[in-house]
């Protein structure tokens, strides 16, 4: 948890620490290894890799956060509502959910991108939409585990309305599970959005995010590994920290 907050603070404040304009090209310093002037070296167009990494992190994190919101909000609401309806009634939703779950989330996002066209907003939407169905499934599963608890029964017998029952009595009790799952959604969003950027579907060319940086650095990795190194490590470390936090929350729900 503490690590995650530090990571978040770092990513948010990093653009302030950018030493150069991340878009400014400089033909005199193409593919230079790290120096005091260019902390992480320069890329093929002479742009400062550190500044691109710093600014790109903010973009990558915003897209991942936006996508997580798009996945979690409808996913939680829909999942809760579905959990309250008898299974027979929702056979159709079950089939629909299964239809979506057949697709790897990256492939799903890729197909949604076909529909929406490219760009940052489409990217966020595509990555987020791809994770609604898994969220619904997790929420429903979590709700099923507390469904038969005594406090729900007593609330029901006191005449609580179905909505109140779900959102006031049930939701807080599955909150730790959901919080842990939100971490999982965030790390998938980060990986998938960076993957789509890596494939060149992130929209505006030249604007840095960690996927774009990796794609740019990959080709030149043999001669100029510093271009991709920062982005590769940054994605891995971020996802690892988020996953670890999700694991901890999931394991010690009463904290």
């Amino acid at each position: 948890m503490r690590l995650f907050l530090i990571l978040l603070l770092l990513v948010i404040s990093a653009p302030l620490l950018a030493t150069h304009d991340p878009m400014a090209t400089d033909t005199t310093v193409q593919r230079q290894p790290p120096t005091a002037e260019h902390l992480l070296g320069t890329d093929a167009l002479g742009r400062d890799v550190w500044s691109r990494l710093a600014v790109g992190g903010c973009r990558t994190f915003s897209i991942a956060a936006g996508a997580s919101g798009i996945a979690l909000l409808p996913g939680i609401i829909f999942g809760l509502v579905i959990s309250a309806v008898p299974r027979r009634v929702i056979a159709a939703t079950d089939i629909m959910l299964n239809a979506v779950l057949a697709f790897p989330s990256l492939i799903f996002a890729l197909i949604v991108l076909t529909l929406l066209g490219q760009g940052a907003v489409s990217l966020t939407l595509a990555v987020g939409l791809a994770q609604i169905a898994p969220t619904i499934r997790v929420v429903r599963g979590a709700a099923a585990t507390v469904r038969t608890e005594g406090y729900l029964e007593s609330a029901r017998s006191l005449g609580a309305a179905p909505g109140r029952l779900l959102f006031v009595h049930l939701l807080p009790n599955i909150a730790p599970t959901l919080f842990a799952y939100a971490g999982v959604v965030f790390s998938y969003s980060l990986l998938n959005s960076a993957a789509l950027s890596f494939l060149g579907l992130g929209g505006e060319p030249g604007i840095p995010d960690w996927g774009v940086l990796l794609a740019e650095g990959r080709q030149a990795f043999r001669t100029a590994p510093w271009i991709a190194l920062g982005a590769g490590l940054a994605i891995t470390a971020s996802v690892m920290i988020v996953n670890r936090m999700a694991n901890q929350v999931g394991r010690h729900p009463r904290r």
């Binding site: 239809a99 979506v100 790897p104 590769g232 670890r244």
Partner: protein
Amino acid sequence: MIKQLGAAVGVMWLAATLVFFALRLLPGDAISAQIIDGGLSPAQIEARRIALGLDQPLLLQYGRWLGGALSGDLGVSLLDGQPVTVIIAQQLTPTITLALAALFVALIMGIGLGCAAGLGAALAQIALDLALSAPIYWTGTLAIWLFAVVLDWLPSSGAAGATGLILPSLVLGFHTAGSIGRVLAANVQATIPADFVLTARMKGLPERVIVWRHILRVSLLPTVNVIALQASFLLSGVVITEMLFIRPGIGRVLLDAVIRQDYPVVQGIVLWIGLVYLLINAAADMLYRQLDPRVAA
């Protein structure tokens, strides 16, 4: 079983139908894209639209497509007029080869690492964390650099021969192993305190026998579903792996079709993914019944 099959076919139909309408309700398609870069005259474009049936009412197009799909005809690519079934069929060999090789690696690594991590090996846990956190386009880049450039042991690309398969299947298998290993580790941890393990220990069985016969056997059962899911994902197209290692396959075809908005091809691949999911899940269910006497009915 029949009910499940029916539901699965329903899933495929629904997925294909959703994609069909979604693709057509939104503006822009490969034909209009050709106007921009192809320099065709409006009359030529209109003629192609009519030839492809794109001028007809949506429902009629849908009926025609569905009828075709049922008889094994998925239409033709908007770009080069090649039948979609042929395009997909051409990619089956490289796709299935890579998927099987990666699954093999994933099973060995996933079971090994998952078992070790579940028994408390910190190093195995770190390896699993890494498999789940590092993006494949990063580990793939590193693997190519290390094995193909620095050590010069293996070729980095190409589908020809077995050596070209080693690197991509190792990298892809490593990440797939992460998902399998994580579930297995959790199961192993949950099984260790079980009564029958305690009994085995009290009988004085060697630790190796306890782990293999008692703990692992029970822990592996629930991973069958994860393995099935990962197998169907591997067959659904591994876009990034195929791109990194310059291999042909479903993933690359899908990426190309998406970029050029070649709808019939995208639809065909959607059906392929549905079919894979259906078959693998049916197989996993059958396997599960075989392995677990409790659900055998």
